[in-house]
């Protein structure tokens, strides 16, 4: 720091000039810091706004209105011959039983139109729930079971306050009679918001109350596993070869320029390439995570190669000299000393690439991963969709209940992203601590 005695021996005038300038320098320093803080603050503000809007819109999707029904499991309806064969139990008309139980609750409803509206209170999925229940325990046949089944999405929206009760009846989605039934059911304790397990265990559905994220989540996981398994080893190997072994000549310069250009190619082009090459030439199954993974690998590879090369470049040459100087072969020097030092940087590049791949929609549209797929994929060959595509599909659906599901799906996507980043941070920590 400034030392007055030293300054005075060197001439008071220069010291005084330094002193006079200090106020200005400190002010500049403060302004600079303030600017930085403001930038960080604005960034955080936008993030907060984004998260609040998503969470506030989407959190209700994690609860689902369910209705308690007392269903009489009439033996003659389900299994007239009493064989209890799986096939028979599977084919029985459970929705008739559900309709019967609704009619039992509201015996006064008689007209065809009203009955139709009454049946519409519960979801189409209720019959499947009932079937699963009976098939799991056939001894229930002949008794009366009380079970919670998902209510229709309109009922759900009404319960969550997303649909108006007021206004002229003609403009309302839910008419007065239906409103009356709902109020009565609620008063009887037959309607309740319960945790929406279906959202996490089921695939997509046309009915919002039955639609789950699991199909898209599994599709994303399978796709990313394929992407990671292909792009990390390929990218690192390419980077190591180009950086450590390849001769530096016109060809390698050309390759470098091309890799940098590939990183800037719009992702939909990779989708078109996947369509033209992987589907049309190699005949890979459409909509499969394997295909998605291949296409996303094309897209991620340049990112990983560029980041890995930068990481390798930043390893001090003295480490290579040290290894070579005692007779390590170039491969041993690279494998034992250079790559371990570059690995954290390579992992950073990989996670950036994977995060890009996770959020990518456009190339998946081109290879058919946008199709409506109700089943949860079991492997990389099953037709699947991915989280961002699912978000796009739901955002495009007209039902009010899909609005909150869209936001909920975004939350799942963000949580998945956070998890991936966490794993990357932990991995980096581990590799950095080794030294």
């Amino acid at each position: 720091m400034t030392n007055p005695t030293k300054a005075s021996t060197e001439g008071a005038s220069s010291f005084a000039r330094v002193q006079a300038g200090m106020a200005r320098r400190r002010a500049a320093e403060r302004r600079f810091k303030l600017l930085g803080r403001a930038a960080v603050g604005i960034g955080l503000l936008f993030l907060a706004v984004l998260l609040t809007s998503i969470v506030s819109r989407g959190y209700t999707a994690f609860w689902q209105t369910e209705m308690r029904l007392d269903v009489v499991l009439v033996a003659d309806e389900i299994d007239p011959e009493g064989t209890r064969l799986v096939d028979t139990l599977h084919k029985a008309d459970y929705s008739a039983l559900i309709k019967q139980s609704l009619r039992d609750m509201f015996p006064e409803v008689s007209s065809r139109r009203d009955r139709f509206a009454l049946y519409g209170l519960v979801s189409n999925g209720a019959a499947f729930d009932l079937r699963d229940r009976v098939m799991a325990d056939p001894s229930l046949i002949g008794t009366t079971v009380s079970l919670w089944v998902p209510a229709d999405d309109d009922v759900d929206m009404l319960m969550k306050g997303h649909i108006d009760r007021e206004g002229p009846e003609a403009d309302r989605r839910i008419k007065d009679t239906t409103l009356g039934w709902i109020d009565q059911l609620e008063a009887d304790g037959r309607l309740a918001l319960r945790f929406n397990t279906a959202f996490f265990t089921k695939g997509d559905s046309r009915d919002p109350e039955l639609a789950g994220i699991r199909g898209a989540l599994m599709g994303t996981i399978f796709t990313l596993v394929v992407t990671l398994a292909l792009s990390f080893p390929l990218g690192v190997a390419a980077a190591v070869y180009l950086e450590e072994f390849a001769p530096k000549n016109r060809w390698t310069d050309l390759i470098e320029v091309n890799i940098n250009n590939l990183a800037a190619v719009p992702s939909i082009v990779f989708g078109l390439l996947g369509l033209a090459v992987f589907i049309n030439v190699f005949g890979l199954p459409r909509s499969a995570p394997l295909l998605g993974g291949l296409v996303l690998t094309l897209m991620t590879l340049p990112t990983i190669i560029i980041a890995s090369r930068a990481a390798l470049k930043s390893v001090p040459p003295s480490i290579r000299d040290a290894a070579l100087g005692i007779g390590a072969s170039p491969m041993q020097a690279t494998l034992f000393h250079v790559i371990p030092l570059a690995l954290p940087g390579m992992l950073t590049g990989t996670i950036i690439g994977m995060a890009q791949a996770l959020g990518e929609t456009a190339p998946l549209l081109m290879i058919g991963m946008v199709a409506f797929i109700a089943d949860v994929p079991q492997g990389v060959f099953d037709p699947a969709t991915a989280l961002p595509v699912q978000i796009y599909l739901w955002a495009d659906s007209p039902e009010r209940a899909f609005v909150e599901r869209t936001s909920a799906a975004i939350m799942v996507l963000l949580a998945f992203l956070a998890l991936m980043n966490l794993v990357a941070v932990l991995l980096r920590k581990r590799f950095e601590r080794r030294w």
Partner: protein, 289 residues
């Protein structure tokens, strides 16, 4: 520079002073002195090095004897490091670098097409200017060489080699309780001795040292110099140094380089007391460089 001058003066006082002036003029570029020794470990003949268009080493012939320390001195940029790196073909890693001439190690041309650089560098190991231990444990640093060359069959063999190398490098007592600590956590002088231990663990015939003490404090320097004296019993050592006192203290023969030419080679004492070339005298009296 003044301390160097005083030290030299002290050394000159201690020996009988010969006032005879150098006999070879400044414009002569042929090497003066004894380039050959009776029993060479390394024999270089007409070595030339080009970096692209730049002629960095011009027609140098020089021997390294068995069990001797050869010091290489000269103003910076004169090609000491370049020449040193020819001896274990480290220049192979430099693009644009072209080496011609004959370099024999135990009578065998190291630039011959059938010679593999990997075993060559196991015989001619190198210690660098900046201590460059691997960012791994002290044990791993020393064990790396023996391991990749397959010198040890068992963990206990390796332990023995690591201990004896660290002992030879005068480092054992300082690190024996913390062999698992990272090598980069040691002090600069300890790091450089670790690098020397790493080199001697592979039992080379020649150790090349490129200004090994330039980044060290005087006490560490003294330790490394003492170590060099001890290692001479077993290895031939070629050391580049920018310190003339160091050359005088550790070496038996000294070579003076000037702009890519080898100007003079003599017994170390003779070179500093009675240089035969005018350029050598200019340099050691501080008139140049």
């Amino acid at each position: 520079m003044s301390t160097q001058g005083q030290a030299m003066a002290f050394k000159l006082d201690a020996e009988p002073v010969d006032t005879q002036k150098p006999t070879v003029g400044r414009d002569v570029r042929e090497t003066v002195g004894e380039v050959r020794v009776a029993d060479p470990r390394v024999r270089c003949t007409d070595v030339n090095v080009h970096y692209g268009d730049k002629h960095a080493i011009k027609n140098i012939s020089l021997d390294v004897g068995k069990g001797e320390v050869l010091a290489m001195i000269g103003p910076s940029g004169c090609g000491k490091s370049t020449f040193l790196r020819c001896l274990n073909r480290m220049n192979d890693t430099v693009r644009e670098c072209r080496v011609t001439g004959e370099i024999l190690l135990d009578g065998e041309d190291i630039n011959a097409s059938h010679i593999d650089v990997v075993p060559l560098r196991a015989r001619v190991a190198m210690v660098f200017q900046k201590p460059n231990p691997f960012p791994k444990s002290i044990y791993e640093n020393v064990a790396f060489g023996p391991r990749i060359h397959g010198l040890c069959n068992s963990k206990s063999d390796l332990d023995v080699v690591v201990e004896s190398s660290l002992r030879k490098a005068n480092l054992w007592d300082e690190v024996k309780d913390r062999l698992d600590d990272v090598g980069t956590g040691l002090s600069g002088g300890q790091q450089q001795r670790l690098c020397i231990a790493r080199a001697i663990a592979i039992e080379p015939e020649v150790i090349l040292m490129d200004e090994p003490c330039s980044a060290l404090d005087p006490i560490s320097t003294a330790k490394v110099e003492q170590l060099i004296e001890e290692l001479r019993q077993q290895f031939s050592i070629v050391i580049v140094t920018h310190s003339m006192q160091q050359a005088a203290r550790v070496s038996q023969r000294t070579a003076y380089f000037h702009m890519g030419d080898l100007i003079e080679v003599s017994e170390t004492d003779r070179l500093f007391i009675k240089p035969r070339h005018q350029l050598t005298e200019d340099y050691i009296t501080g008139r140049f460089g």
